[in-house]
């Protein structure tokens, strides 16, 4: 049974993030309902923003669950050690920021969401 809003520990909803190399591109694939991916070598903001919007949507929608990203390395399409380290650091920071948002989100939910 899921925990209620405001309780100390809440149910975690994990979103799988898979690191893979496809067509010589190092990609993070986010497991939303409609999977979204970002190219770790690219400076293009489009996909990054789409991922952020989907993350925000889940955070706001899931009142009783906490979103957490879980990184796995795709064995079928392996990438390099360097990109593993990059992906690990990136997802670690993203999870930290999501946690921080949860400190505010309940207050915000009452007023604006």
């Amino acid at each position: 049974m899921p925990l209620m809003k405001g309780e100390l520990s809440m149910e975690i909803k994990e979103i799988e993030v898979v690191l893979m190399n496809i067509d010589n591109k190092d990609i993070l694939e986010f497991g939303f309902e409609q999977p979204e991916h970002i190219d770790l070598n690219s400076e293009d903001q489009t996909h990054l923003r789409e991922v952020f919007y989907l993350l925000m949507k889940d955070i706001i929608k899931e009142e009783t669950k906490r979103i957490k990203l879980n990184l796995t390395i795709c064995k079928e399409h392996p990438t390099t050690k360097l990109f593993e380290e990059i992906a690990t650091e990136y997802i670690k920071q993203l999870n930290l920021e999501i946690e921080k948002i949860y400190e505010d989100v309940d207050k915000l939910r009452e007023d604006y969401l």
Binding site: N41, S42, E43, Y90, E97, Y112
Partner: protein, 710 residues
């Protein structure tokens, strides 16, 4: 015109000097030298009918019969002069003969009660010694006289000097002084008052008293008219005395009354005083539209009690989707990272991510508390009524709450800023290090937190905008006048920021034709609100910004719109008739005491006798008492006569495009031809003939017309 209402012609009491005795020759010479035009013989406790008849033959002055009596009041003795209408001189003589039989003027003393009983039947003026004129009447005895005297008796006060009389007039007391002559050899040296207007007889003098408390020219109001030169037609130039009072222009249709008015209006306007207001009955249709026309005004926004920050759209207009940290930055950091002993911060994260949510929460709390306290203290009196002395404690608690929350807010603000400064400083140092060493620092964050916070800020702003645009209608009532039987008529001004509250007749601060555009903009804002947390925000935001920029809107006050309805006292909508519209326009002109010149063309048109008698005429009298110049072209007898105009301008059509202009007033009862002073008409006869009015109106004017109306 000099007047002497307190004049002795005989030594009648032992205390009187011999030099009070005067014979007819000396009397004639002296009043001619003194230029006295009206004189009342008022000897002490004595009336010499024969002498009065002789002196009234004077070719230089009108002489009225009178007497100065010693009166015993409840608070001591005072002197009262009684001046009688010459038409009742004989009756007055009989009363005096009877009253003074076997009584010496030295010992004569009449009670206040007898004074009233015996003399008030006569058409008369009671002039009592007042203030420093001894023996003077006590206020209690004055009240007695005021109570007991009738319309037949005018009551005047006589102080010791003309200066005192002037001061009393300025304070609304009807007063006058006479010579109280003691030595006829020096008669011309006595300081005597001048009447504002020439009066032809006793009746007209009393009429003047009835019209105006200040009948005499005093040092305070020497200038009570203005010479105005106008040229209403190419062949006519007039220089007229326009009084700070009612001035009427009468005459048949087509005699140029309106042109004279317009010319007069232009003359006053050209003087640049900007104190002229006019009413032309022919323009009523347009004037009524103007009267009920309601436009949005910038300060209408105040009815919503919103602060500038809430109305400001800068946040929305400047808002852009924040950038996320590129993953390429993480690649650069990992690929080119070389640990440094000296610059440990290159690898540092921030202890806390910066969020303004808490700060904004306290901002919002403080704002609401502050506004709540303000609202509560609006009812300070009512709170005191129920809580008594506890009010002070209550106010202290409110002050403490206010101060503590403010302290908390400042604290939050400091925290937020210190984090922000820390982040900026570290980033700056990383950037400097990177440029010096060609190395890449570890990214501080992915940008997701900032991304989220900034979207929340936008969502909050849009929610606030939507709440404001959904606010209800605020109503203001603008009274446009009162109508008989209907009461107050007002325009209900409906003010709103919500374009959905309006229809095509509404007006917006932006101008005409904005209804649809504002409605579309509101829809776009609602659409944007639902898209804040989606990728579609980009399109929605661009659409809103485009509309805002196209319409030049940077503040919600640009949504301000108004609609209006004319309503009557019971709150129902009302469409005044043509006559009622005239009443309302007139009301708005006449109510304006800020103006000094009132130009009125046929104010009687369409409004009916009752309105003229009950509203217009009394109001014109009030304005004349306020020393306003009122110039009226009229065909109405009530306006032309009952206002007792100080100036009457009469235009006569002589045929073949020739006209004559006569000037006069009801007090002289004359109208003198302009440019030909030998040609004189009778004012009463002319006004009876020229002015139209109901039978009742003419009956009410009996006093003015005397016997002529029969």
């Amino acid at each position: 015109m000099k007047i002497d209402l307190h004049c002795h012609t005989k030594k009648t009491k032992q205390g009187d000097g011999e030099s009070r005795n005067v014979d007819f020759d000396l009397f004639e010479r002296k009043i001619q030298d003194a230029d006295v035009k009206v004189l009342a013989i008022t000897n002490h406790n004595h009336f010499d009918y024969e002498q009065y008849l002789q002196f009234s033959e004077s070719q230089f002055s009108t002489v009225w019969p009178g007497i100065e009596l010693d009166v015993s009041g409840t608070n001591g003795k005072y002197h009262c002069i009684i001046i009688v209408n010459p038409k009742e001189a004989e009756q007055f003589n009989e009363i005096c003969k009877n009253e003074f039989k076997n009584k010496s003027p030295d010992n004569y003393l009449i009670s206040a009660e007898d004074l009233v009983n015996i003399f008030s039947e006569l058409d008369s003026i009671f002039l009592v010694h007042y203030l420093n004129k001894e023996p003077s009447i006590h206020d209690e005895d004055l009240d007695f006289l005021q109570e007991r005297l009738t319309d037949k008796n005018a009551l005047l006060l006589e102080p010791s000097s003309l200066k005192s009389a002037g001061i009393m007039v300025a304070h609304g007391l009807r007063s006058i002084v006479g010579s109280d002559v003691k030595d006829w050899n020096n008669y011309e040296e006595y300081e005597l008052p001048q009447l504002k207007l020439q009066v032809s007889d006793f009746d007209k003098f009393k009429l003047l008293l009835k019209k105006d408390k200040s009948i005499i020219k005093t040092f305070l109001d020497q200038k009570n008219y203005e010479l105005v030169t106008i040229q209403p037609f190419s062949d006519l130039k007039l220089t007229l005395e326009i009084y700070n009072d009612v001035n009427v222009i009468i005459g048949g249709k087509g005699t140029g009354k309106t042109e004279i008015l317009k010319s007069m209006e232009k003359n006053f306007q050209d003087k640049g005083n900007n104190d002229v207001i006019s009413y032309y009955a022919a323009k009523n249709k347009i004037k009524y539209k103007e009267l009920i026309e309601i436009n949005p005004e910038q300060n209408d926004i105040n009815v919503f009690d919103l602060d500038n920050q809430s109305l400001d759209l800068k946040l929305l207009l400047d808002w852009t989707i924040p950038n996320a940290t590129n993953t390429q930055d993480y690649y650069n950091w990992k690929a080119y990272f070389q640990p440094s002993k000296n610059f440990g911060f290159m690898n540092s994260d921030f202890a806390e991510l910066i969020s303004d949510v808490t700060l904004n929460k306290w901002k919002s709390v403080y704002k609401e508390i502050k506004s709540g306290i303000k609202q509560i203290l609006k009812h300070e009196k009512e709170i005191e009524e129920v809580a008594g002395n506890e009010l002070e404690n209550f106010k202290n608690i409110l002050n403490i709450v206010d101060a503590e929350i403010r302290k908390k807010l400042i604290n939050e603000y400091c925290n937020w800023w210190s984090l922000k400064l820390e982040k900026t400083t570290i980033n700056k140092m990383k950037s400097i290090y990177q440029s010096k060493k060609g190395e890449y620092p570890k990214p501080s964050n992915t940008g997701f937190n900032d991304f989220f916070v900034k979207h929340i800020g936008l969502k909050k702003k849009i929610s606030e905008i939507k709440t404001i645009l959904d606010m209800g209608v605020q109503k203001n009532e603008i009274t446009i006048g009162n109508l008989p039987d209907k009461g107050r008529i007002y325009v209900e001004k409906n003010i709103s920021l919500n374009p959905d509250n309006f229809d095509g007749d509404s007006k917006f601060i932006l101008g005409q034709g904005y209804l649809r555009k504002l409605q579309n903009l509101k829809k776009s804002i609602i659409d944007l609100e639902s898209n804040v947390f989606t990728i579609a925000i980009n399109k929605s935001l661009s659409e809103v910004k485009k509309q805002l920029n196209d319409m030049g809107i940077n503040n919600l006050d640009k949504f301000l719109g108004v609609s209006s309805k004319v309503k009557k006292a019971d709150g129902n909508e009302y469409s005044p008739s043509t006559g009622e519209q005239s009443m309302l326009i007139l009301n708005n002109v006449l109510i304006n005491e800020g103006y000094n010149v009132f130009i009125l063309d046929e104010p009687e048109l369409s409004v009916g006798n009752e309105y003229i008698n009950n509203i217009i005429v009394p109001r014109l009298k009030e304005l004349s008492n306020l020393n306003k110049k009122i110039i009226i072209a009229t065909h109405d007898a009530n306006i032309g006569v009952r206002t007792l105009p100080l100036q009457t301008i009469y235009r006569v059509d002589k045929g073949s495009n020739k006209y004559e202009t006569f000037l006069g007033n009801p007090f002289t009862d004359n109208l003198v031809c302009y440019g030909n002073e030998s040609k004189v008409l009778n004012w009463s006869e002319v006004t009876l003939k020229v002015l139209e009015g109901g039978r009742n109106a003419f009956n009410e004017r009996g006093v003015i017309y005397g016997d002529k109306r029969n």
